[in-house]
Symmetry: C2
Subunit: 420 residues, 2 copies
Amino acid sequence: MTVQTATLSNGFRIVTEHMPGLQSASLGIWVCAGGRHERTEQNGIAHFLEHMAFKGTKTRSALQIAEAIEDVGGYINAYTSREVTAYYARVLAADTPLALEVIADILRNPVFEPSEIEVERHVILQEIGQAHDTPDDVIFDWLQEQAYPDQPLGRTILGETDRVNSFDRDDLLRFVGEHYGPEQLILSAAGAVDHDSIVAQAKALFGDMPSRPGDAALPGTFRGGESRQEKQLEQAHMALAFEAPGYRDPAFYTAQVYAIALGGGMSSRLFQEIREKRGLCYTIFAQSGAYADTGMTTIYAGTSGKEVADLALLTIDEMKRAADDMSAAEVDRARAQMKAGLLMGLESPAARAERMARMMQIWGKVPPIAETVARIDAVTLDKVRTFAEAQASQAPLALSLYGPVAQAPDLAQLQARRAA
Amino acid sequence: MTVQTATLSNGFRIVTEHMPGLQSASLGIWVCAGGRHERTEQNGIAHFLEHMAFKGTKTRSALQIAEAIEDVGGYINAYTSREVTAYYARVLAADTPLALEVIADILRNPVFEPSEIEVERHVILQEIGQAHDTPDDVIFDWLQEQAYPDQPLGRTILGETDRVNSFDRDDLLRFVGEHYGPEQLILSAAGAVDHDSIVAQAKALFGDMPSRPGDAALPGTFRGGESRQEKQLEQAHMALAFEAPGYRDPAFYTAQVYAIALGGGMSSRLFQEIREKRGLCYTIFAQSGAYADTGMTTIYAGTSGKEVADLALLTIDEMKRAADDMSAAEVDRARAQMKAGLLMGLESPAARAERMARMMQIWGKVPPIAETVARIDAVTLDKVRTFAEAQASQAPLALSLYGPVAQAPDLAQLQARRAA
C-alpha cells in the first residue's frame, strides 16, 4: 500500500492510499479549523457551521444532499473537534466521484438560509441537552475547561446555549472566510481509490478557490483546576488530567505508552488495582490525547458516592507508583498494544483516511507506518519513568467531578497526596 | 473469500473465513445462551458468568489472562446479549493460536473463586449504576420490559441489584452446566486465518467435552405496554417499539428495509420530518432488531420536555404516513443502504466473524453474501407497505419515557392517534 500526495496551486492538499482487496472507499475533507480557532464570541460556530453544511446548497436541499449519498447506499457525516472539522463519506468504490462531488458541494456552495439556521439552532440546542444528560460525556468538557482555562482550547465544541442562540448567517460566513481557504483543506481518501482520478476531480472542484492563508490558533497552556458538580446520579464520575506532549513533541509516543501501561487495557495498573482487585469501578481508563502544541493524559472512572474518595486517592497512588516501579515488561506490553492497535486499526479505510489527514495537518506529510512503529519501539523504560515522575510530582492537575461527589477529595488534597 | 465450516463429534461447531490481504484475525466463541435462557431467579447470571470468565482459570490469574493477550498487543473482551454470550479477541495473524488457547482456557477452566465473585459482584453493581446514569441506554431496557412483559426476553441483561447480590458459585456452575455444552458453542474466526489449523486446534481444546444438548429458550411474545419515569434531565427521552419478524421469518428483510426508510439515515422520514424540518431532536432513528422467533422495530428520540408531546404524535403520524405513501424510490434507497452497509461492514474481520457466528446459530450454516443480497433485493414496495400498514393499525406498541415527560401522551393516546 502506498500513500500518494498532491498539492494544487492554491495550496489545497490531497492524500490517498489505495488498499488492495477492498470494494469500498472512505474519503473526506478535513478542514484545519475547529473549536480552538474560535474567538471567545465565536465559541460554537465551527460546530454550527458543520451542521449547516448539510442544510442546503445552491443546487441541493438538505433532503437532496442526503438522498444523493444514500441512494447509492453510502453514508455521509461530519464532526468537529478542537483542531479540525471533518466532512466524510463511506461509499462503494464506484461511487467515490459522487461522494467527493457532494462533499465539495456542501463545503463550497452552502446557502445558510436563515430559516434553516433557526431550525438547526434548535437541533444543536437539543444536542447540548443530550450531552448534558450523559455524565461520561459532559465531564470531559468540564475537565477540558479546567485544563485550559480562559483559552480557546478549554472551551466546549458545542458552545454555550446563549452563544448558540446568538449566531446568525454573517457569523457563519465570517468563520468560513477566516478558516475555510484552500490551504486549510485536506482531501484524504483510502480504500478502493485511484490517486490520479481523485486529483483530477479535486482540481476541477477546488482548483479555482483563491489562496487565502488561515490564522493560526493561539497556543494552549495547560494550567489545571477543579470543577465539582453535585447531582443525584447513581455514580460519582471522576476525570483527572495532566499535561502531555503535543503531536510534534518527540515525547509524544512516551506519553502514549505511559497512558497504556497506566490504564490502557485489562492488564494495566488502574484496571488491575482498582477494578480487578477492589471492584471499585466498571469503567476505568487512562488515555493520552494530543493537539499540535500540547496534550492531555486523562484518567476517567465512575464509582459510588461512598467510594469516590477511595477511588481518587488510589488513582493518585497508582500515578506515583508508576513512577517508582514501572517495569520493562509493562513498557514492552504497552508498545506491543500500541503497535498492534495501529496495524489492526489501519485495516479499516476510515481509520486510514483519518490518520493520513491528521498527519498531513501536523507534519505536512504521512510518515510510513514503519517509521511510526520505529518511534514506538524507541520508547524505553527510562523515558516512561522520567515522564511518570514528572506527572507524579508537581505538574498541574485538572480534576472534574460529577454526581454524588460530596465525599470526594478536592484538588489540593490530591496534590498533597501526590507530593507526599 | 470462502466460508468453511466443521463440526466436531461432540457437536462443537467451527466456522472460518480467510480474508486475503489482512495481517490480523478476529476470533471468538459464541455461546448460544444469553439473558433469555435464564429462569426468573437466574436473571443476570449469564452476564455475571461472562465477567467471571476473566477472573482466573486453573493456571492463570485475572492478570495473567490479560497479560497473555496484551503482551502480543491483542485485545480480548466479551459481551452478553439476549441470545448469545460472546468471548472474542483481535490479534495479529501469528497470535491466532494463542488467542484461541486463552479463550478456551477461560471457558473451560474458570475457577469461580468465591473472593473473586465478591469483587466482580461489586464491579457489576457499578456497571448497573453506569447504565442507569445513561438515559439513552437504560430506556431500552425499560422498553424491552414493556415489549415482552413477564418473559425472559423482557428482562435486563445485567439483572436487578437484589438478584446480582444473591448469586453464588453454585449458580454460576448450574448455568454453565445447563448451557455451555459443546453443541451450544460456535467458534468463528475471520481474517488472516487458516481453517485446517483452527479446526485441529479446536479439536485439541474442545474435542473432549461431553455432548450435552442445551435447553431451548422459551418463545417470546410481543405484548406491549408503557413505562414512564419522571426525572430531572435536560431531555425527554422516548423509545417506541412494535413487533418485527424474527431472524427465521421470511419477512425479516422487509422489516429491515422498512426501518431504514422510516428512520435509518439522513434521508429517512423521521430524520427529515422531525429533525430537518422542525429541529425537534438531535438524535432520532428507527431500527429493526431480531431474535430467533420474534423481533422489535424500535424508534428512539430525545427532545425537550416542552416538545415531547409533539415528538410523540409526529412519530405516530410518520408511522401512519409510511403505510400510505411509501415510494418505490425510498424502498430502492433503503435496499441500497442495507446492501452497501453489509458489504462495507464485512470488510472488517470482527463484523465478519460476528455475522458468521450468528448465521450458524440461526441457520446452522452461513448463507453466501450473494444470497443475502438477493433476499434484500426481493423486498418490494408492496411488501414494505403491507408491513407498514400492519404496524400503523392495531399491532401492540411498547412505549418508554424518561426525563421531563409530564406532557408526553400516554400509550392509549398514541394508539388512538394511530387508529384515527
